[in-house]
């Protein structure tokens, strides 16, 4: 098989799986919420309500499309597109599994092994702000604008602590390539052992970056109606909501790759599995780990109430940032003590 063809198939597969997982995350979220609140949850469409996401999707398509006459029409459409685009772009550098061998050809289950993978990831995340800002501003509605400003200031603030947490990780692994980080965790221990504080900071920042509860202030209903997507309807609203679920899936994948060994699992080389089979099992294990984190995201949403805005800023700037700086310092000292510098 042509390597380019394989890459094309991989791109389509990753894109498709991301969308399907995001689609069923909406269903999972409603079911989990139902269990936590002692309700039944969606159960009408299909067996166990399994067709509910499709019904929701069709509903989104069929709804009347409203573009406010006072809005900036062009940017009003561009906003949700950017949100969706940046959400889908991050899957490129994630290693989804080992390598598959067909005959004498070896194919890596990663779309692009950039040697600046982490920086790419960080760059795409930092562009995610534009979707929300442009959408909120183009709506020409004060609630949308306030929501957009809240969302963007929240994302910028937490990006800094997130970057600092990543720096400590890069110090201890010595590479910016995600593939290499995952491979190192195959040889040694998972990075959570070396970077427990960094993991905690990264996790909290991931919640803030995806605008998930308890950091869902941008769409705080009690104060801002719907936040930045107040004026949006039909599929454009769907894009914004969907992008959040994609971000949740991808950030779970990133957390697993960074701190929990990626697609590796304990004693994987003692099982006596042959190359391709092992890769498939690895990929399944990887998805299992991701779903644990997706569940965690939902669990937190239905457990912890929303922060107040000043508490959010306080946490970001006065708690997480100093902690992240301390983490860098501590990592440096430990590495120096162990003679790794």
């Amino acid at each position: 098989m042509d390597p380019l063809l394989f890459k094309a198939i991989l791109v389509v597969a990753v894109f498709g799986i991301t969308l399907i997982v995001a689609l069923y995350s909406t269903f999972g979220e409603r079911k989990i919420a139902a269990v936590m609140q002692d309700r039944v949850g969606p159960n009408r469409a299909g067996p166990f309500g399994l067709l509910q996401p499709l019904a929701d999707g069709i509903k989104m398509f069929m709804k009347q499309e409203l573009i406010p006459s006072v809005s900036n029409k062009w940017l009003f459409i561009v906003g949700p597109c950017i949100a969706m685009l940046t959400a889908c772009m991050t899957g490129v550098v994630i290693p989804w599994g080992g390598s598959l061998t067909f005959g004498d050809q070896v194919f890596e289950l990663q779309i692009a092994d950039l040697n600046i993978g982490i920086l790419y990831l960080f760059g795409v995340v930092s562009l995610g702000v534009y979707g929300i800002m442009i959408g909120g501003w183009a709506s020409n509605n004060k609630f949308s604008l306030i929501g957009a400003i809240r969302a963007s200031s929240q994302m910028i603030s937490y990006e800094i602590a997130m970057g600092m947490a990543i720096i400590a990780l890069v110090m201890s692994t010595g590479t910016l390539s995600l593939k290499e980080i995952v491979m190192q965790q195959d040889a040694g221990l998972a990075n959570i052992v070396y970077q427990p504080l960094g993991f905690l900071i990264f996790l909290v920042c991931a919640f803030a970056e995806t605008n998930r509860a308890p950091f869902d202030l941008p769409e705080c209903e009690t104060e801002l109606i719907g936040g930045y997507h107040t004026e949006y309807s039909s599929l454009k609203l769907g894009f914004y909501l969907f992008a959040e679920y994609i971000n949740m899936f991808i950030s779970s994948a990133v957390i697993v790759s960074f701190y929990f060994g990626g697609y590796n699992f304990p004693f994987q080389h003692e099982l006596g599995l042959d190359g391709n089979l092992l890769t498939i099992v690895q990929t399944l294990v990887f998805f299992g780990k991701i779903f644990c984190f997706v569940f965690f995201f939902m669990w937190v949403r239905w457990t912890i109430p929303r922060f107040r805005y000043d508490q959010l800023m306080h946490l970001g700037w006065k708690v997480l940032l100093p902690l992240a700086l301390f983490n860098i310092f501590a990592t440096g000292m430990v590495m120096w003590g162990m003679g790794k510098l």
Binding site: N115, I116, F122, V129, Y130, M133, I134, W137
Partner: protein, 167 residues
């Protein structure tokens, strides 16, 4: 033409067009968005030159941070036609002359400059490993000194905001 050349011409066209848009568009938000596209085109050029680290940092710092703040300020200002102050026609003439002079200087400099022939240097020249090696060995002092600049900017920002609070 090779693929690289096509990409080069496309990126150059994009960079020029979007930077012209920055100047000519009436809407300040469009200006900022065009500037972001310009940054992307320039980052693409960096990639063509094998400077991946520079490209990534260019996107993160300029497109991801500085332009967000620009957009922020412009959105908050909510500027419209009525609020725009009346500009004196003299101001326009003066700025045209100043801009023309700058262009004259630039054209003169570029025309007189000797462009070095394209020599193939180390293909790894822009990678992050090489950059780190050079920054922390040959250019350690300038690198560390430049961080004082950032420290000064940070202290300045904190001072200005705290000063407002007290008075």
């Amino acid at each position: 033409m090779s693929l690289t050349q096509y990409i080069f011409w496309f990126l150059s066209f994009l960079a020029l067009m979007s930077s012209l848009m920055v100047v000519f568009t009436k809407n300040a938000v469009y200006s900022v968005l065009s500037l972001i596209i310009t940054f992307f085109a320039i980052a693409g050029h960096y990639l063509l030159l094998n400077a991946q680290f520079l490209a990534a940092v260019h996107i993160i710092v300029y497109a991801g941070a500085i332009m967000v703040l620009f957009l922020y300020v412009i959105m908050m200002l909510n500027q419209n036609k009525d609020a725009e102050p009346n500009k004196h026609p003299y101001l326009m003439i003066i700025s045209v002359i100043a801009g023309g002079l700058l262009m004259l200087t630039l054209v003169g400099t570029i025309k007189g400059a000797e462009l070095p022939g394209s020599t193939i240097v180390d293909a790894q020249v822009g990678t992050i490993e090489k950059l780190g090696q050079v920054l922390f060995t040959d250019f350690l002092l300038p690198f560390e000194v430049s961080s004082i600049l950032f420290l000064a900017a940070m202290v300045g920002a904190v001072y200005l905001s705290k000063n407002k609070l007290q008075s």
